[in-house]
């Protein structure tokens, strides 16, 4: 723990910054700087590059304090600017935005290393996220993860058959037992081959390694209790 982890936090609300700082004070070896505007954050990052660069940036998405003079008026534009200059820094999003569209847009286009929600994060989660980010992994808080999964469910046109299979899967030790349980829209039973095909498709679409993993994802989605 000789070297400190250099972190920059950007949020338009000082209160939020204070809150985050209060969560982070329990974590050792952190060197934290804060700012309220994206432009300033970008300058700080660039300046730091000459000496000790920031390793992690936590930013909000929407900045209410941005006005006509601001070059970067949102978390998204800040991230884009950093990406454009190929600066080596792990970026985490801490925001209140949980609409799928915004999440999807950010995750898809800006590929942040972490996505946390203001109202729900705590010291543990922040610490966990920082560790993950530093090790090059990605951490999305549960709700975000759930939303993205649900989105892929919609995209693959999750139908009643798929939901039935996911619901019945934990109740049967063998897949062959599912035959005679899963019904089609017209009430007839689904053949074992069709069930297996459907499972395979679900595993690919939900990025599950095996059927157990699939059950876990289904639980995450709230399909299973």
């Amino acid at each position: 723990m000789s070297e400190k982890i250099k972190i920059l936090i950007v949020d338009d609300h000082q209160l939020i910054i204070e809150g985050i700082l209060s969560y982070l004070k329990d974590i050792n070896n952190l060197e934290i700087e804060t700012t309220n505007s994206c432009d300033e954050a970008f300058t700080k990052i660039k300046v730091a590059l000459t000496e000790t660069p920031f390793q992690i940036l936590f930013t909000d998405l929407s900045f209410d304090n941005a006005d006509g003079k601001s070059k970067l008026d949102s978390g998204e534009s800040l991230i884009k600017a950093i990406r454009a200059e190929n600066i080596a820094i792990k970026i985490g999003v801490i925001t209140g935005h949980s609409e799928t569209n915004r999440i999807f847009n950010v995750v898809q286009n800006l590929t942040p290393s972490a996505y946390l929600l203001k109202g729900k994060c705590n010291t543990n989660e922040l610490n966990f996220a920082i560790q993950k980010m530093l090790s090059g992994e990605v951490y999305f808080t549960h709700e975000i993860h759930q939303k993205l999964l649900k989105r892929s469910l919609v995209e693959i046109q999750m139908d009643e058959v798929a939901i039935q299979i996911l619901k019945e899967l934990p109740n049967h030790p063998k897949i062959s037992n599912l035959e005679g349980v899963i019904t089609k829209g017209d009430g007839s039973f689904l053949k074992i081959r069709s069930i297996e095909n459907k499972l395979a498709k679900l595993r690919t679409d939900l990025q599950a390694n095996n059927n157990t993993d699939l059950v876990l994802k289904a639980k995450e989605l709230g399909i299973l209790d």
Partner: protein
């Protein structure tokens, strides 16, 4: 001597009618052959039969050649009947048809027949003209057989017109052509004619050399008895004129025998007259009278007018008193009538010829006139067609311009509506911005104050209000609308509402090219889906929504149906959200239909024209 060439004439005439190897079909050949046979045998009925057959054949195959032959046979029939004017008319018709079909040989042959007929009727000038015309047709095709006959005819005519030199030239030409075709009869005939020419000029010695040349012909007595008789008679006549009286009578008698044998009835009067003249010179009047009466009989029978007159003249000399007077009277009457007849015939020939020419001229004139008329009609037709085309084109142009302007107007209108929609969007954005900046800013200030005064509970509530305002502002503006593509946007939207207990399925979303679709339309579809889902969640108690996209006939169709409780479309009021949607749909010239029934779910259908 003049008597003789009447004799000659007939032979000549027969030659003119001879058949030739024309390619006719079997029937035609047969009829033509039979007809010619009948004609030479002077079998009128046979000729009539062949004529009828040819007419029937013509009616069957409409062959102009057969029709020409039919006229020729009709002419031959009249010739046998001594009706020269009718014969002339039909030969002329036949000739004209052959002329039309371009059969030079037939034209030449008919002209030859006409020339003979004219000479026979003493229309020598006409005969000469016809002969020369025949030459025009026959010379190019080098028909030596007929060319020989034409020159013979021309020789006879020239002789008749007292142009002896020219007559000789023609006979020479006839002999020249004769060399090419090995026609012995023709040769003998020409020799005889040359002899006759000298005989007429009283150069009897010279004439006799020619007649002798003819008579010296190999086996003439057996091979060509008719020619032999002719030559024999003529040599007898010349010898008699030279006062070489010996064997004259014997020769005449031999000629008589031969002619009776070969039924050359029309030549009999000539011989009888010669004999009568001989006896008259010898003052044997009874014998002379007998032969003159014989001559008269045969002349009457064969319509040999010349000999008839001569016989009458001789008889009036040989008889005395009232009998002589009667013969003389008869002679005068006949002569007058014959002169008149000849004149009439000449006139008639000329008339027929003139009329034919006139008709031809008229025909060409009418043809020209017809062509002119035809051209005029075609011109008029073309004009009408052009007129129709022009009017059709102008109508088309008019319709096109009208539709073009309507189309343009529609497009402009649509664009104006789009602009309106865009302006509205901008307005919304501004409202959102002011909501965000001003209202939210004020709220934030208030929030801080509350926090400072330790009113945390109120601060919490205010935070919620602020969050709501923020959400509202985000909904109003479509901040991230352009950043994410439409398909993802719809999926994101649906994902926000999706749950295992509320299944939303989207169909055919990815099959449509949304890049080309106007953003106002996309915004409308997005908002419609959100509104429908929200309504469904709030009121319908549905567990399933199906969202269906399709493009059909330049229209985007959006169909949203749920399995909820439905509602009565007539009694229920529309919410603000739905009213907003309706407004947007109208702006884009679309159609919104909501059908629902209690217990049967709700179906919302939107149709919007794609980029008009």
């Amino acid at each position: 001597m003049r008597f003789l060439f009447y004799f000659i004439f007939f032979i000549n005439f027969i030659f003119g009618q001879q058949t030739d190897p024309v390619k006719l079909d079997v029937y035609k050949n047969e009829f033509v052959k039979n007809g010619l046979k009948s004609f030479f045998a002077k079998d009128t009925e046979g000729v009539v039969k062949s004529t009828d057959k040819l007419l029937k054949l013509y009616k069957k195959n409409k062959d102009s050649m057969v029709f020409a032959k039919y006229f020729q046979y009709k002419a031959m029939y009249y010739e046998l009947k001594y009706r020269n004017d009718s014969a002339f008319y039909y030969y002329n018709q036949s000739k004209n048809i052959s002329k039309v079909i371009g059969d030079s040989l037939e034209v030449g042959r008919r002209l030859l027949s006409i020339a003979f007929l004219q000479r026979k009727s003493k229309d020598f000038l006409g005969s000469e003209i016809s002969s020369i015309e025949a030459l025009l047709y026959l010379e190019p095709i080098e028909e030596s057989k007929f060319l020989e006959r034409i020159h013979n005819n021309l020789g006879l005519v020239s002789d008749e017109l007292n142009q002896e030199k020219e007559a000789l030239i023609h006979y020479d030409k006839a002999l020249f052509y004769n060399q090419n075709n090995n026609n012995n009869e023709g040769f003998l005939y020409t020799i005889n004619n040359i002899g006759l020419l000298y005989q007429q000029e009283n150069k009897h010695k010279k004439a006799i050399t020619y007649f002798k040349k003819g008579l010296a012909f190999d086996n003439i007595k057996i091979k060509y008895p008719v020619q032999y008789a002719l030559l024999l008679e003529n040599i007898a006549f010349s010898s008699y004129s030279l006062d070489t009286k010996e064997k004259v009578l014997e020769k005449y008698r031999e000629v008589l025998e031969i002619r009776k044998k070969y039924k050359e009835d029309n030549e009999l009067p000539t011989t009888h007259l010669n004999i009568a003249n001989y006896y008259n010179d010898k003052k044997q009047l009874t014998k002379a009278k007998h032969h003159a009466i014989e001559a008269l009989k045969y002349a009457k029978q064969t319509h040999n007018n010349k000999r008839w007159l001569e016989a009458l003249e001789l008889l009036s000399q040989l008889t005395t008193g009232t009998q002589s007077k009667t013969y003389l009277q008869e002679y005068i009457t006949l002569n007058d009538s014959l002169v008149q007849q000849e004149r009439r015939l000449k006139n008639q020939f000329a008339k027929i010829r003139y009329e034919t020419d006139k008709k031809e001229k008229e025909n060409t004139f009418l043809k020209g006139e017809n062509e002119k008329k035809q051209a005029e009609i075609t011109y008029h037709k073309q004009q009408t067609t052009i007129g129709w085309l022009a009017s059709a084109a102008s109508i088309l142009l008019f319709v096109m311009s009208v539709s073009f302007f309507t189309f343009r107007r529609k497009k402009l209108l649509y664009q104006a509506q789009l602009q309106k929609a865009q302006v509205r969007e901008r307005e919304r954005k501004q409202i959102a911005k002011s909501l965000h900046d001003e209202v939210a800013g004020d709220l934030r200030l208030l929030h801080r104050k509350l926090e400072k005064s330790q009113l945390l509970e109120e601060a919490q509530k205010l935070e919620e209000v602020k969050e709501n305002v923020r959400n509202l502002s985000h909904q109003l503006s479509s901040v991230s609308f352009k950043k994410v593509n439409f398909v993802d946007q719809i999926i994101n939207l649906v994902s926000d509402y999706f749950s295992p207990n509320f299944i939303i399925r989207v169909h055919h979303l990815k099959e449509i090219d949304w890049e080309q679709t106007n953003s106002s339309i996309k915004r409308l579809l997005y908002l419609s889906i959100r509104e429908s889902i929200q309504n469904c969640l709030k009121h319908a108690e549905a567990s399933k929504i199906d969202i269906n996209f399709s493009v059909h006939k330049k229209l985007v169709h959006l169909n949203i149906s749920d399995n909820g409780i439905g509602f009565d479309t007539e009694t229920s009021k529309k919410g603000i959200g739905l009213q907003n949607i309706e407004e947007r749909v109208e702006e884009l010239h679309g159609k919104l239909t909501i059908t629902s029934e209690k217990g049967k779910g709700t179906n919302t259908s939107i149709q919007v024209p794609l980029n008009v």
